[in-house]
Amino acid sequence: MLFDDGKMQKHKTGQIVNSTTAEPDLGSHKYSKLWQGPNHPGITGNMSLELTLQGDEIKKMRTHVGYLHRGFEKLMERRRFINNFPLVCRIAVPEPDFNEYCYAAALEELAGIEVPEYAHWMRTLILEMARLQSYLMWLGGQAGAFGMGMVGQWTLYARDRVLDLFEELSGARIYHIFILPGGVRNTLPDGFEQRVNETLRVIEDTLKDVDRVLFNNAVFKKRAVGLAHIDPKWVDEYGITGPNARASGVPRDVRVDNPYAAYPHLDFEPVVEFDGDVYTRARLRWRDMLLSVDLIRQIFARMPKGGEFKAQLPNMLHWTIPKGETYKKAECTRGEYGYYIVTDGSKFPRRVNVRGPSYTHAVTLAEMMLENCNLADVAGTMVSLHTYPPEVER
């Protein structure tokens, strides 16, 4: 691959040069360079793919991030623990709730705060609703990348219904800041369960339509089946988690492996598929949405009808947390989302490191996978990996 004579080349040190270190000779007039991004419908957010092409075949791909770097991790070191909530939710724009949960859970563990049971159920409900709305947006993007923009319009309508619920619950559509240390901000409004059930029915109907229109579509099948296959062996090598791993037959799901919030009280198994291509990953996420619908119904059936929703907390502006370090994680729509927090006994975190699943999926994995891929399939493959640039550069 990549080399003019069609053979693997040897570096002068005697080592086999792999594609990550070798540069195609652009002066040979056999290659052309194309930049996809930083603004491109195939990528959520701003990220640039530097593509080296031979004809329409990609010989080398490099991910360039940095267009969204806001230095959140640095900023968090200079703010009080509670003042960081408006920052953490902005790290993964379509999925703020997982950030809020991980950050709050890490602080609770370090400060030794017990969260009331009702708050655990509320958090689980919010996380599953967040999963649904994020998946719905993704599904529209995946269909759009293969030329079916109509599906995106249906799924965004369904997503808007979920956002309406979030607005009713928290007053905000995107950045909810509803999960706080010690619990959640409020109880459920009257009649909320009924409105959630109505929305779930809309989502189920939408998913049935999507099943007919997208998953049985000859064009989608022809293009997505067998495309961008992830080998199960790569899962550990490249730090692949979540749906990208589960679609290759590796059952990685934090909700099941290390249950948190109210997940231990729910009956479910991780959705697993085996073919590991774009079609399978889409199918898996479609099934995951149905699982979320089921989980939300289970939550309403099993959660207490009321109770304490927040633990007693000290004055947040003078809150100090003892010296320590911890890592808390949750399963978001893209995989393992985690916060590694180090405290030094002061009013400020010493270090906050955000482990977003896109960090490995969008850089190391995508660079390796897109080699020898056709230019027309880049957008579909990148959407299929479900990456969000903001969490790569934080």
């Binding site: 640095k74 990685r252 490191n353």
Partner: protein, 181 residues
């Protein structure tokens, strides 16, 4: 986990352990790569969750943390090592783990850029990941002053002004009473 820890203690000089909020062990920087290889190949900690650094500027040290996960036993372990904090533009140095996990190269590239910690032989470690043409103090070090950098690099927009929060709020809250006593 206790068996794993015992095996690790038998083979490596564990300098410190904490079990309060998950298992974190501290070893010498020279032992880290060997320990990671042992944990990955023998004890089944096959998933590198993250690699990051903490700047303990007061002690003149960088703490490096590798978090590894055993997906079969569903266990996690943090490996810590403390290296000397170099004076910029000199770089601190640590061994690379990219041969164990190809994904480690991205973490190492970021640490090189953000903290000035070099991982010799790590692929593309000198290439910028997030910043472009950055030749100043690595920005995630504690002594990098974000406000000063911002004031020196960007110009104030015309018509905008900044108030000192303390005096502004005092003036706003206690306007009738004069200056707060």
């Amino acid at each position: 986990m206790e068996t794993v820890l015992k095996n690790v203690r038998d083979r490596y000089n564990v300098l410190h352990e904490t079990h309060t909020h998950g298992v974190f062990i501290t070893v010498s920087p020279n032992d880290v790569i060997g320990l990671l290889a042992y944990l990955k190949n023998v004890e089944g900690f096959t998933h590198l969750v993250l690699l990051t650094a903490v700047d303990w500027i007061e002690e003149n040290q960088f703490q490096l943390t590798w978090l590894v996960n055993n997906p079969v036993l569903k266990q996690e372990m943090g490996i810590r090592a403390f290296i000397e904090r170099s004076v910029w533009p000199e770089e601190s140095v640590m061994d690379s783990a990219h041969h164990l996990w190809p994904a480690a190269k991205t973490y190492q590239r970021e640490l090189h850029e953000m903290f000035g910690i070099d991982f010799p032989d790590s692929p593309e470690v000198n290439e910028p990941l997030i910043l472009e043409y950055w030749d100043q103090l690595p920005p995630y070090r504690r002594d990098f002053d974000t406000k000063k950098y911002s004031e020196e690099t960007y110009f104030p927009r015309e018509g905008r002004y900044t108030r000192d929060p303390k005096t502004h709020m005092e003036a706003k809250l206690y306007a009738r009473e004069g200056k707060k006593q």
